[in-house]
């Protein structure tokens, strides 16, 4: 017998509706959030930006020549907070692939995209919380907003969108990595480059000439410029659009990359 006869087993099975898919995403996000609350190492990622804020405000701040360093560096620290927070995506997905949880997920009738999308939603929620904490802390160390609620909200939105795009980049890194440790190591590199070869910590004009074109135009710098302008109440439209374009572009490219890598990795 080479092929199967027509089946005689009509078992009614509900279809996967968009509502059910959303519920699946929510389930994955809930699971990941429970996991991160219970993983002390991951809480360090929330503490790291706090340390950075204190170090730059009180230790390097005095030595760096800028008109008002607190106003300068605090919006950048907000952005670094979400970028560092997105690194948990790389570690989390690598852990799930290693432990065999992915097989369980893939044997369930949940939406196939739920594992990855739920992961990025987890980061978004966590970033929202850490951002709120950092804003409070920023104000406590002397940072002030000089604009209306509209631009402030828009600035926060740019920060979260940038963090979200990084979640997808780190998801791709996490799937490609062999284990959680190498995922973490691989995820640190891009963050380090974008954070220091930029206008985030020091004004770009103080950097070596050959580095300045990159440092002024790379996505994190553009976003920092837009957010600073939005928070101090100056013109920000150009940088804001460019930043959004970067975030959207990074999200789309790495969403697709992650999806392809995931299908391949999970079928091994």
């Amino acid at each position: 017998m080479t092929s199967l006869p027509p089946s005689g087993l009509p078992i009614p099975v509900p279809r996967l509706t968009p509502f059910l898919a959303l519920r699946d995403f929510g389930g994955v996000a809930k699971r990941n959030l429970l996991r991160s609350v219970r993983t002390p190492q991951l809480l360090l990622y929330t503490l790291e930006p706090v340390m950075l804020l204190l170090i730059f405000r009180y230790i390097f701040g005095g030595a760096i020549k800028a008109p008002d360093y607190t106003e300068f560096v605090v919006p950048a620290i907000f952005l670094i907070t979400v970028v560092v927070g997105a690194m948990t995506s790389a570690i989390g997905i690598a852990e799930d692939l290693k432990s065999g949880m992915i097989d369980r997920f893939r044997s369930l009738p949940m939406a196939r995209s739920a594992v990855l999308t739920g992961r990025s939603l987890t980061d978004l929620v966590r970033n929202l919380i850490s951002l709120a904490v950092m804003v409070g802390l920023g104000v406590a160390v002397g940072f002030r907003f000089h604009s209306d609620a509209g631009p402030i909200l828009l600035g926060m939105l740019l920060i979260l969108a940038f963090g979200y795009s990084f979640s997808w980049m780190n998801t791709a890194i996490g799937i490609s990595a062999k284990d959680p440790e190498s995922a973490q190591n691989a995820a640190v590199g891009p963050v380090f480059i974008l954070m220091f070869a930029s206008n985030a910590i020091v004004p770009a004009s103080t950097l070596p000439g050959w580095l300045q074109p990159f440092a002024r135009n790379q996505p994190l710098s553009v976003t920092v410029s837009a957010v600073r302008a939005l928070f101090e109440g100056s013109a920000a439209a150009h940088d804001a659009w460019v930043s959004l374009a970067w975030s959207a572009g990074i999200t789309v490219v790495f969403f697709l990359t992650s999806y392809v890598l995931y299908q391949r990795a999970a079928a091994r």
């Binding site: 092929s3 199967l4 078992i11 996967l16 369930l108 009738p109």
Partner: protein
């Protein structure tokens, strides 16, 4: 028309140059257990992964509950449960959280999955540990929770990939009873195992595979008969008698006996059964040989398995049946 809940035809799968499955076919009827038996690397887990839509076969066709595993993967996944040797449960969540989340992903309503979680925890004697994190569980508790998670959607088809590997005998017995109860209620089970007693206890039918192909199939009894049948065994009191006994048994049975000097044991295929036993007993007595033991022994499934897979591993070394059964 067929009542088979799992149907596989000529499933083949390569990983690079390694041939994991080389055309495997079987059916599992509704409410029965098929035991897929084979040594490590025989292709058992690969077959489970194909049938549970985790892996796409290179060739062949498979259906679960009537749904094609490739074309209808989503519907296949909603009628199956999968539990395995790796116990894929989340260590950082509690037992209850694990079950409830899996219930959500089976798309049960909230009230329903909460109720099922309580029921399953009770059923698997995990109620006391329900709200503890899984990292505090013993290996047996994890395995039970893993099986519980595969059951929360009430799946009519269950895949158990070496479910009791590494468990203590008591936990294993409990799980066997539990699976038997599920089957009595109509669940169809595909079980892979390396343990013969597990296959014998649970499986209605057994398919033995090696190197990705079926090398034998049938009920446990059929397999035993297929591969050799009974042997006559004589254990001598004095090891120096072994050669004489071997010669006597050879002429009585008309077959070549095997002797094991260390165990003081001579055995010979006992095709003629009781007749041979009486004949051999008489001859040994007349020769005045003192015996510790004399009897007919049926092969265990372990021996059947070893003879089957051992024979398959040395292809071309003559027909295995000819060596053991004649």
């Amino acid at each position: 028309m067929t009542d088979a809940m799992i149907e596989a035809r000529n499933i083949a799968k390569h990983f690079g140059k390694t041939r994991a499955l080389a055309g495997l076919s079987f059916d599992v009827a509704r409410g029965t257990v098929l035991g897929l038996l084979g040594p490590n690397g025989a292709g058992k887990t690969t077959m489970i992964r194909v049938l549970t839509t985790l892996l796409r076969a290179d060739a062949g066709q498979a259906r679960v509950a009537g749904f094609d595993v490739v074309a209808d993967g989503q519907r296949v996944r909603s009628v199956i449960g999968l539990a395995g040797q790796y116990a894929a449960v989340d260590e950082l969540l509690t037992g209850r959280e694990n079950l409830e989340l899996v219930g959500l992903w089976y798309h049960l309503p909230r009230r329903e999955y909460r109720r099922r979680a309580v029921e399953i925890l009770e059923l698997l004697s995990l109620t006391d540990a329900a709200d503890r994190r899984v990292m505090t569980y013993s290996g047996g508790m994890r395995r039970r929770l893993d099986i519980g998670a595969s059951l929360i959607g009430n799946p009519p088809v269950l895949f158990l990939d070496e479910p009791t590997t590494g468990l203590d005998p008591r936990t294993r017995n409990d799980l066997w009873r539990f699976v038997r109860d599920l089957v009595d209620d109509g669940t169809t089970v595909l079980l892979t195992t390396q343990y013969m007693d597990e296959a014998e206890h649970l499986a209605d039918r057994i398919v033995v595979i090696d190197k990705g192909i079926q090398i034998a199939g049938g009920t446990a009894d059929e397999l035993k008969t297929q591969t050799g049948g009974a042997t006559l065994e004589a254990r001598v009191a004095d090891p120096r008698d072994i050669e004489r006994v071997a010669a006597l048994l050879a002429s009585a049975a008309g077959a070549q006996p095997r002797s094991d000097a260390g165990a003081r044991l001579v055995s010979v295929p006992a095709g003629a059964g009781t007749g041979l036993l009486l004949d051999a007993g008489r001859r040994l007595q007349e020769a005045g040989i003192a015996l510790d033991d004399l009897g007919i022994r049926r092969p265990t499934l372990d021996e059947v398995f070893l003879s089957l897979t051992g024979a398959a591993s040395q292809e071309g070394a003559g027909s295995p049946e000819a060596e053991t059964a004649k």
